[in-house]
């Protein structure tokens, strides 16, 4: 699936939620059910700065595609970062660099995108794009 297809899938999934509580219950469920990132990534070199909750993101290349893994000590943040990883993991670095990620607005999580927002979704996206840029530079 392309990034855009995955985004559309999520938008559809979120469309069924009637109120904020359904949405956040879903994020909490996601955050609580996801596996914990490998301990080797849970250190300062994978830590995203600028977040009130701690977020770790790792990226590796497999057959020209970026494999992302993420974790957070806050459950909602983990749910949100999972959405991001779900959309972007397994994609080519250039596609990650070029995508708009409009889905975050459409599923009503834009409030988490504001730079003042302490969970730092903006910082997470920036970090993933930095990984992509580094892999792209290496590839070329």
């Amino acid at each position: 699936m392309t990034i855009q297809e995955k985004e559309e899938e999520l938008i559809e999934e979120f469309a069924v939620f009637e109120d904020w509580m359904d949405k956040y219950n879903y994020l909490i469920e996601l955050g609580q059910s996801l596996p914990i990132i490998d301990d080797k990534f849970r250190n300062d070199s994978y830590l995203i700065s600028g977040c009130q909750s701690r977020v770790w993101i790792s990226a590796e290349m497999e057959d020209g595609k970026m494999i992302l893994k993420a974790d957070s000590d806050a459950v909602i943040t983990k749910g949100i970062v999972y959405l991001l990883v779900n959309v972007l993991s397994g994609q080519k670095p250039e596609d990650i660099l070029n995508c708009e990620l409009a889905f975050l607005n459409q599923i009503g999580l834009q409030e988490h995108l504001s730079p003042t927002r302490a969970n730092g979704l903006t910082s997470m996206i920036k970090q993933i794009r930095l990984y992509a840029l580094a892999f792209q530079a290496k590839g070329n």
């Binding site: 904020w20 509580m21 956040y24 219950n25 909490i28 609580q32 009130q52 909750s53 000590d73 806050a74 459950v75 909602i76 943040t77 302490a118 969970n119």
Partner: protein, 406 residues
């Protein structure tokens, strides 16, 4: 004599709104308080009717604005019971006041090997300027420790005072835990040691009647925006004889007497410390905030705040998974807590969805968080417009949050 809380609340237009279809509950007053209509009107009136650059203007508007600005300085002087309006320096806020003092005091009085004392409870704004100064002057920063409840250990403080102690800089009230520090005792001990004292009053000024003569503090700093006034304006009080000795902080307009390329002489107090065009509108807003507080009576406000804090504390103690952080003997306006097994950020996010504004994180006070062995808290900080009904909603929302995270 008490006040009618409904009438008090009605003066704050912002509080009438709904967030996410819930009536707003604003519990982030330690960060900034909301503004009553009379403060908003005063600022608007200034820009509508007599905006003008002050002091050296010869024209009517400038004189009117200058008079208003200097009258506001007298209101501030009276509000904190200073002896002279020359002791009132307008700054951008508490942080700016402390930076001003750290620079000017440091340049004038501090030598290599001297010591400055702060406490473990301090906001970063009352740590970092002193740290920077100590680095610049090769001086030493000493720290008063706290106990597990969040009270300063005065015995340890006494031991820190020595012949090299030039200044003690402590908060009146802790922003992270709400501890009301025994500042009078702290000042007495410092003075017996011939050390000067700055009190960071950012978290006290809206809640406690401050009398700088009675406290006998040498310097006192606070912000307008935490006492119903506008942002971008604050005050540094300093004893006149000390301020006169201090070197200026910033150079520019207002602060000079005469300028030539050979030598510049500085203006007298308080203008020596007010370089550049002052923030007249917000000084007038601050004056309106003072009038507002005096009209309502700060003791009356304190009674309402204490009732809400006590009620919230006792209700929270009934909830199993709540741990209150900061159980000092005397507290003002702050309930800091954790819910076992739920990250503060998650709690704050869910409360926000229910229209309840709290703050989560380390509250710009990392050292005290570290001392308590935690990374942050959820902080509800109260003002006189907060009600017991809001606390009931808060408690319900906490139960709901716990239910959601399981």
């Amino acid at each position: 004599m008490g006040i009618n809380q409904n009438q008090f609340i009605a003066q704050f237009p912002i509080l009438k709104q709904q967030i996410n279809k819930y009536p707003l509950v604003y519990f982030d007053n330690a960060a900034t308080t909301q503004k009553p209509q009379m403060v908003i009107d005063r600022i608007s009136n200034y820009y509508t009717n007599f905006n003008s650059n002050i002091h050296r203007g010869v024209h009517h508007l400038s004189q009117k604005a200058t008079d208003a600005y200097e009258k506001a300085r007298i209101s501030v002087k009276d509000f904190i019971h200073a002896t002279s309006s020359k002791e009132i320096i307008f700054t951008k806020g508490t942080t700016d006041s402390i930076n001003l003092l750290a620079f000017s005091f440091g340049e004038t009085f501090l030598k290599e090997g001297d010591e400055i004392i702060v406490s473990e409870l301090e906001h970063h704004s009352n740590i970092v300027p002193w740290q920077m100064l100590c680095e610049r002057k090769k001086a030493k920063l000493r720290v008063i420790p706290v106990n597990d409840e969040g009270d300063l250990l005065l015995n340890e403080y006494s031991k820190l005072l020595n012949e090299r102690t030039r200044l003690v800089a402590v908060g009146h009230v802790s922003n992270a835990l709400g501890t009301l520090n025994p500042v009078k005792k702290i000042i007495d001990l410092a003075h017996k040691n011939k050390s000067l004292v700055l009190i960071d009053g950012a978290q006290a000024i809206a809640h406690i009647s401050v009398n700088v003569q009675d406290l006998d503090c040498d310097f006192y700093a606070f912000s307008s925006h935490k006492m119903y006034g506008p942002m971008g304006i604050g005050v540094l009080f300093g004893k006149k004889n000390l301020l006169e000795q201090l070197q200026p902080y910033q150079g520019g307009g207002e602060m000079i007497a005469s300028v030539s390329f050979e030598k510049t002489t500085y203006n007298e107090l308080p203008f020596k410390f007010e370089a550049g065009t002052p923030n007249v509108a917000d000084v007038l807003g601050l004056e309106a905030a003072i009038e507002f507080i005096q009209k309502e009576g700060i003791e009356n406000l304190a009674v309402l705040e204490e009732e809400v804090l006590n009620y919230a504390t006792s209700e929270f103690q009934k909830i199993d998974r709540i741990q209150i952080i900061g159980k000092a003997k005397n507290k003002v306006g702050v309930l800091s807590f954790l819910i076992d097994g739920i990250h503060p950020y998650d709690v704050g996010t869910i409360l926000d969805q229910m229209g309840i504004a709290v703050r989560t994180g380390n509250h710009c006070a990392e050292p005290i968080m570290k001392r308590m062995g935690i990374r942050g808290t959820i902080r509800a900080s109260f003002s006189a417009y907060n009600t017991k009904e809001e606390i009931d909603r808060f408690v319900q929302a906490i139960h709901k949050t716990i239910e959601m995270f399981g």
